[in-house]
Amino acid sequence: MERWILTVITFWPLVVLAGVLCIPGRLERFIKWFSIVGSLPPLALSVWLWMDYSGQAGMRYVMKAPWISAIGVDYHVGADGLSVPMFFLTALLTTLSLIYSLNITVRVKEYFALFLLLQTGMFGVFASLDYFLFYVFWEISLVPMYFLIGIWGGPRREYAAIKFFLYTLVGSVCMLLAILALYFATGAETFDMLRIAEQQPFAGRGVVQSLVFWALFLGFAIKVPVWPFHTWLPDAHVEAPTAGSVILAGVLLKMGCYGFLRILLPTLPEVSAQYSLWIGVLALISIVYGAFVAMAQMDFKKLIAYSSVNHMGYVMLGIAAASSLTAADLTDRATALNGAMLQMFSHGVITGALFLLVGVIYERAHTRDLREFGGLGAVMSRYSVALWASCFASLGLPGMSGFVAEFFVFRGAFPAYLLLTCLATIGLVVTAAYLLWTIQRVLLGPTNERWAKLPDMDAREVVSVLPLMILMVLFGVYPKPILDILNGFARQLAALFGAG
């Protein structure tokens, strides 16, 4: 069971996909419900994985089998504290997105089929321990998203889809080159991530090491996205269908952070430490600049998209602090990493909820212009509670999971990069400002007559948002269950960068 669980989780959506393909396209309701029910087993298994892994450390559920033995490619999967929460997040957000997508009417069969393919790609990225496998899944996750944006997107969908695809493709090509460099430098004819990380083929080789570092950096930074590689994000988000935005922000961005933590830091610790200040500076810019630009938005969805740039900056700040050259001790580094990973999780939950809520209002009002709303709090009471809670979670209100994450990042980064940390607090104030202003523009004030008859959230929408709201409060009030998972990985990685 243990060896097979990741394989089952990863490929189960393909089984469901095969089922969906066999159903005649006119049975739309059946296709929808078949996919939703089909997405439940991976969710259940990922919960089991969480329970089972809790309190442990190190790689588990490993399965390894030769695949293309001529060049040393293996089918090699495994999970640890970094990936277990990501499995859960992926499974949960997919199920909720599928539930939300019950209102899709155009080309239903293709839509659900692509979503299931996307899920396999995402699971695969988090499961792979072999570079070749990793790359394959990385690219697999790209294609369905391209079609989801390009077919079911908004008016500028083609521009956005192509921009998204090409931009990330540039990143993946850089990553592929770096992977090949690692493969040849190791010389052991293996694509095994863990073995290559152990051998550290580039230790002590200045220029080559830096080149490989920046190539990998570019591949992951575009995905995160780190300033200044972020401009595909607002376009992709604005044009993507609601559920696509949820997955994009909730999971696909996390693949970039995951790359930093799974590949870049463990494999190239020396040069990561050397350049960590640069990453910290980019993180700071992402945080402050993302917040400023978000404040200038009039489009609700674009505002949330830019807030993602701001929030992912905290993840990067944590990563930079964990790998810093300074004399931070193990606990500081581990705390920064815990904060970064917690932020990955909680950003997925919170921003997922926010995108769903933007979708709810857009489908009713057919506009996202913040200047046109107002007073909805008196019209849609369930919606207003949900939006209120999600915005406060997003601005880092204590008692919500975002706060714990940001606090840990700041705590971890404080000894390493005092100035950066202090400047990053500007982001906290501006974030509060733009989110409260958003609440004001949407929910408060006199009711606009145009919206006086908008219906409140229906069961489909409530079911897709409610679990996320529970999670943001749960881990905000009591983060121990998730830290029990994360801390083992954080300590292991922190130890690589020395204990002061």
Binding site: M295, A296, T331, F403, F414, P415, A432
Partner: protein, 658 residues
């Protein structure tokens, strides 16, 4: 009894959730369970007080904690603790909150969102009680933000009013600005000590925080070298400045009066705004890192003094009954800070204690006035004493307490602050005295214009409020008389519970007490002279002190200055950043894309005309050659022979001459 402490915040928290979910279906639309939770908390607090009083008035010591978050090699713990200071705060919060809950049953009667109001009020009470019970700085910070959230929700309770929603947002953002300081202070201490627990932090003060120095550059002052404790304390104090509305972060509090009046009484007068004072008291070991000349405490005293004086001057000229009281609150919070800053730990906290009761009384009284008249403008009132006698008398009692008339509550606490100031920081004493005159004057003005004289607006038909509102008024009126008696020079019970490092209370000084009382009487006499006896008319005064009047009625232009310095640049920066993002960053991306496109066009052209052109050229050449060759293939014998002969000639030529 002590073991029941966790219930004190837990019950209202549960109540809040319960009312939020089932509001309308609960007894009294949720108000009865809400009152019950606080009554229970109040009884528990009283029980603890009774137990400790029975055992020689020793403050309680109780704590419990759980593992909250493991990180790295350490474990963060969260817990509650109760000591004398916490007990004093518990009594204040549960008492005022209970009374405000009861009062709200009448005041909010008929509001369509009545259950939600009680749900928010419960959330506030729970967070505030957690704040005073927190055993570590992180939990304090968490509760601190949660009271900020409840304050935001309650200021904006009537969210369809544009002023209310703006005031709510302003309150949250201005206090958050201060909270950044608290957050950084928390990080500084956590980083230096390795723990957030108060015990660990205080244990590290002497050995570490007071001796480690940091040097940094300050604007206007230049390079300074300060002990770490001073840096941390001042950072933490920024948080207190936001929450307790100290200059220049006081601007949110007067606007917060847009909220329902019970909220103003509970949150924006008695409890939450006092949280900053509590924070300084709680962190006092860090502020008081040295016995002589703590930088941090001087800073606290300075900010408190400026705030006390400035707010009092604005209170002189406001015409909205709640705004006068709001500026009075700001001023009194400045007094408390002054007390703490001059080393009067007990004095500052004692003033917090007494102020909570009489200021809550004043606000609930003003709520009763607004409820009865439907206006907040004192220029439209007058003569209400006959129409609303109960409100009038309780208001007068609370006013006497605030002005510091012997033997009302405010006299005792203000006197202690003045005494400590006289002993430790003489200039603060004079500020305190001047503030005393102003306080008595504006309160006298308020009472006279509201309740005395003839009604100025004939179409206002004022009526007395129902018993559910006047009963809390009488209780608070009673406390305005008696709350000061728990810390008289001959029976300093409060001092036994709340004192820093078991310090003795300074000896009572008749001269100081006389000076304070004289200041109060002077202010009241002035108010009577102007507004009651009209010896000098108010308009003459306004003309005489025109520049000052303009300054005060424009609230010292602090709002305008902050707007010009912070808000406006923020919006410009945001717009500039967005333009940069769109035209430069994304412009570059599009440029790269466009370049790719152009290159591929050029390549396409080359492909078509050069690469493919070459291929075609070869083809054309072959075809041309073929055509030429076909010219040769004429099929005529003489041409063939001629060509054969030419070939032979060439061959011979090659063979012979080469």
């Amino acid at each position: 009894m002590l073991e029941l402490t966790p219930l004190i915040p837990a019950l209202p928290l549960a109540g809040s959730a319960l009312i939020a979910c089932f509001g309308g279906r609960l007894p009294g639309q949720g108000s009865y369970p809400a009152i019950a939770t606080l009554a229970a908390g109040w009884l528990i607090a009283l029980g603890i007080l009774g137990q400790t009083l029975a055992h020689g008035a020793h403050p309680p010591h109780w704590e419990r904690s759980i593992v909250w978050a493991p990180t790295g090699d350490t474990v963060l713990r969260m817990g509650l603790a109760l000591d004398g200071l916490g007990l004093a705060m518990l009594l204040v919060v549960t008492t005022v909150s209970l009374l405000v809950h009861i009062y709200s049953v009448g005041y909010m009667h008929g509001d369509p969102r009545y259950p939600r109001f009680f749900s928010f009020l419960q959330l506030f009470s729970a967070s505030m009680l957690m704040l005073v019970l927190a055993d570590n700085l992180l939990l304090l910070y968490i509760s601190w933000e949660l009271v900020g959230l409840s304050s935001y929700l309650l200021i904006g309770f009537w969210f369809q009013k544009p002023e209310a929603m703006r005031a709510a947002k302003k309150a949250f953002i201005v206090t958050r600005l201060g909270d950044i300081g608290l957050f950084l202070g928390l990080l500084t201490l956590f980083n230096a000590v390795g723990s957030v627990a108060f015990q660990d932090i205080f244990a590290a003060v002497d050995a570490q925080l007071a001796t480690t120095t940091v040097s940094f550059a300050l604007p206007l002052i230049g390079k300074v070298v300060w002990p770490l404790a001073a840096v941390a304390a001042i950072l933490i104090f920024f948080g207190a400045m936001g929450k307790s509305a100290q200059f220049p972060l006081h601007v949110w509090l007067p606007d917060a009066m847009e909220g329902p009046t019970p909220v103003s009484a509970l949150i924006h007068a008695a409890t939450m705004v006092a949280a900053g004072v509590y924070l300084v008291a709680r962190m006092y070991p860090v502020f008081h890192y040295t016995d002589h000349g703590s930088l941090a405490l001087t800073f606290v005293a300075g900010v408190g003094a400026v705030t006390a004086l400035m707010a009092a001057t604005i209170g002189l000229v406001m015409n909205d009954i709640k705004r006068v009281l709001a500026y009075s609150t700001v001023s009194q919070l400045g007094y408390m800070m002054m007390g703490l800053g001059v080393g009067g730990y007990t004095a500052g906290m004692f003033h917090l204690f007494t102020h909570a009761f009489f200021k809550a009384g004043l606000f609930l009284g003003s709520g009763s006035v607004i409820h009865g008249t439907g206006t907040q403008d004192i220029r439209e009132m007058g003569g209400l004493a006959r129409r609303m006698p109960q409100t009038y008398w309780t208001f007068v009692l609370a006013t006497a307490a605030l002005a510091g008339i012997f033997p009302f509550a405010g006299f005792w606490s203000k006197d202690e602050i003045l005494l400590d100031a006289w002993l430790n920081m003489r200039w603060v004493f004079y500020v305190g005295l001047a503030g005393g005159v102003l306080t008595a004057f504006y309160m006298g003005r308020l009472v006279i214009k509201t309740f005395l004289g003839e009604p100025r607006q004939p179409d206002i038909h004022a009526h007395e409020s129902p018993a559910v509102m006047t009963t809390p008024l009488w209780i608070l009126g009673f406390l305005s008389i008696t709350a000061g008696l728990i810390n008289t020079p001959w029976n300093p019970v409060f001092h036994h519970y709340v004192s820093f490092a078991q310090a003795e209370a300074p000896p009572f000084s008749l001269a100081i007490a006389a000076a304070g009382t004289a200041a109060a009487i002077l202010g009241l006499a002035g108010a009577l002279a102007v507004y009651r006896w009209e010896l000098v008319s108010a308009s003459t005064l306004r003309r005489m002190f025109r520049p000052l009047y303009v300054l005060f009625s424009n609230k010292w232009y602090v709002d305008e200055i902050l707007y010009a310095l912070l808000v406006k640049p923020l919006f410009s920066v945001c717009r500039a950043a967005f333009a940069f993002d769109r035209w430069i960053v994304d412009g570059l991306v599009n440029l790269v894309g466009w370049t790719g496109l152009v290159l591929s066009r050029i390549q396409g052209w080359l492909d078509r005309w050069v690469v493919d052109g070459l291929v075609n050229a070869v083809g054309y050449a072959v075809r041309g050659a073929g055509w030429l060759l076909t010219r040769l293939q004429t099929g005529l014998a003489q041409t063939n022979v001629l060509l054969a002969f030419a070939g032979l000639v060439a061959l011979v030529w090659l063979l012979v001459y080469r």
